[in-house]
């Protein structure tokens, strides 16, 4: 489920992303947040070296909301 919440100025919409990081090669993958994601949770396989990734960050980024 893509999570979006209103931003501070109401015109901005915040989209929430999860960053998965490979502890071996450092490759980072950004995907939409899904309920149940948390920092240090096991992620998918690394696209570069196929190792197990871990969620390193969950954050929101602002986009201009279309009225």
């Amino acid at each position: 489920m893509m999570s979006s919440v209103p931003g501070p100025d109401k015109k901005t919409k915040l989209l929430v992303y999860t960053i998965e990081e490979c502890p071996v090669c450092g490759q980072k993958t950004k995907r939409a947040f899904v309920v149940g994601d948390y920092v240090t949770k096991d992620g998918g396989k690394c696209a570069k070296c196929s190792n197990q990734t871990k969620v390193s960050l969950v954050y929101a980024e602002g986009t201009k909301a279309s009225s």
Binding site: S3, V5, P6, P8, L14, V16, I19, P23, F33, V35, G36, D37, Y38, V39, T40, K41, K54, L57, V58, Y59, A60, E61
Partner: protein
């Protein structure tokens, strides 16, 4: 005697005289009724704000009830219990004799926290720790909005009843700030419901990196610790137990590490979110000394006391953000500051301690969505 406008001109009253009468009347009215008129304007402003607060309060209550029913699988309708919960009060101890006051406050607050958890546990049809902690936080948000609404309504009605212009004016001036704070609380509901890390969780995010792959153990209520190494220093890293929405008891934990576990740290480094001033940038990092922890002051007191007794210097690393950013989903600017703050933490450890030393590192904040 009423003289119609047309007749007035006919009997020799010119338009200048009419304007003069109008202005004299205007000044007489404003001279005698200015305060009354401004009171009406203030009442109307406050009334609009109060309506907004009522809508926010009702929305947060509904969201909490919906969460308890839909996610918490409450076995029966929790509405009545929730309404009782919202009006529950915590009576702070008397401060006429301040000696030992912090211990009394700690006792009252701990009793309240235990009661909240027990009540929420009884309301839910499941024992999942994350769901219970989120329910606790949602009910706390609803309680806060309920209290804000009640206090504003009290002063609004009091000002109206006593026709107190000064009371109303003060409330009118404060309304934008109160609405801003209430809005931040309401926005926090979405992040809590989805279990997303909030801005306040930046401290736990940073220290979780030091705890990865290490054995964790409970060191205080809702607080975990791991022992790790960094450039020859032994680090005792602690944070609230995640991914639950806990803040833990870092004060109790640090006291225990120093006084009961016999650790002799050369430094205590605390990482926390800090409220930025208007004009400061979100994600800015500030360094300092002292206990970096908010709240009612009990934890801060415990940390300062333990550090002072053991003569351990306290260092603080702060990540700046607004109140809205601190209690809603973590912003990109804050998350990206984690890397910089980690470098600062490493530098502080390297500069302030030497190889073979022991260091306590505490990531202070709400651990929602941040495990270890």
């Amino acid at each position: 005697m009423f003289i119609p406008f047309g007749s007035a001109l006919q009997v020799g009253i010119d338009s200048n005289s009419i304007f003069l009468i109008f202005w004299v009347g205007f000044f007489v009215v404003t001279f005698f009724y200015q305060a009354r008129l401004q009171s009406y304007m203030a009442l109307s402003d406050i009334s609009r704000g109060l309506n907004k607060l009522r809508v926010m309060k009702d929305k947060s209550r509904k969201e909490a009830i919906d969460y308890l029913v839909n996610v918490g699988k409450a076995p029966s309708d929790p509405t009545q219990r929730v309404d009782q919960f919202l009006d529950y009060v915590t009576i702070m101890p008397v401060d006429l004799d301040p000696a030992g006051l912090v211990g009394k406050i700690d006792h009252v607050v701990t009793t309240n926290n235990d009661r909240v958890r027990a009540e929420v546990g009884a309301l839910l049809g499941q024992t999942n720790a994350v769901t219970v902690s989120i329910s606790e936080n949602l009910l706390e948000v609803a309680t806060s909005l309920n209290v804000i609404h009640k206090i504003v309504r009290h002063f609004y009605l009091l000002g109206k009843k006593t026709n107190s212009y000064i009371t109303l004016l003060q409330l009118q001036m404060l309304m934008p700030l109160i609405i801003q704070e209430a809005d931040a609380l309401l926005n926090a509901v979405d992040s809590f419901k989805l279990g997303q890390p909030i801005g306040d969780g930046i401290g736990p995010v940073i220290v979780s990196r030091y705890m990865a792959g290490k054995e964790k153990r409970a060191v205080a209520k809702d607080t975990v610790m791991a022992v790790t190494e960094y450039k020859g220093r032994k680090l005792y890293v602690l944070k609230a137990d995640g991914p639950m929405a806990y803040v833990g008891q870092p004060g109790v934990a640090i006291k225990k590490i120093i006084e009961e576990m016999g650790v002799k740290p050369s430094a205590i480094v605390m990482i926390d979110a800090a409220l930025k001033l208007e004009g400061e940038k979100t994600g800015e990092i500030a360094e300092g000394v002292g206990a970096a922890i908010g709240g009612i002051g009990v934890e801060k007191f415990q940390i300062e006391e333990a550090a002072t007794k053991a003569k351990v210097p306290l260092y603080a690393i702060l990540v700046k953000q607004s109140i809205l950013e601190a209690i809603t989903v973590m912003r990109k600017e804050v998350a990206e500051a984690a890397e910089k703050a980690t470098q600062v933490l490493n530098r502080v450890i390297e500069e302030k301690t030497k190889e073979g030393d022991e260091v306590v590192v505490a990531g202070v904040g709400n651990s929602l969505g941040v495990a270890q």
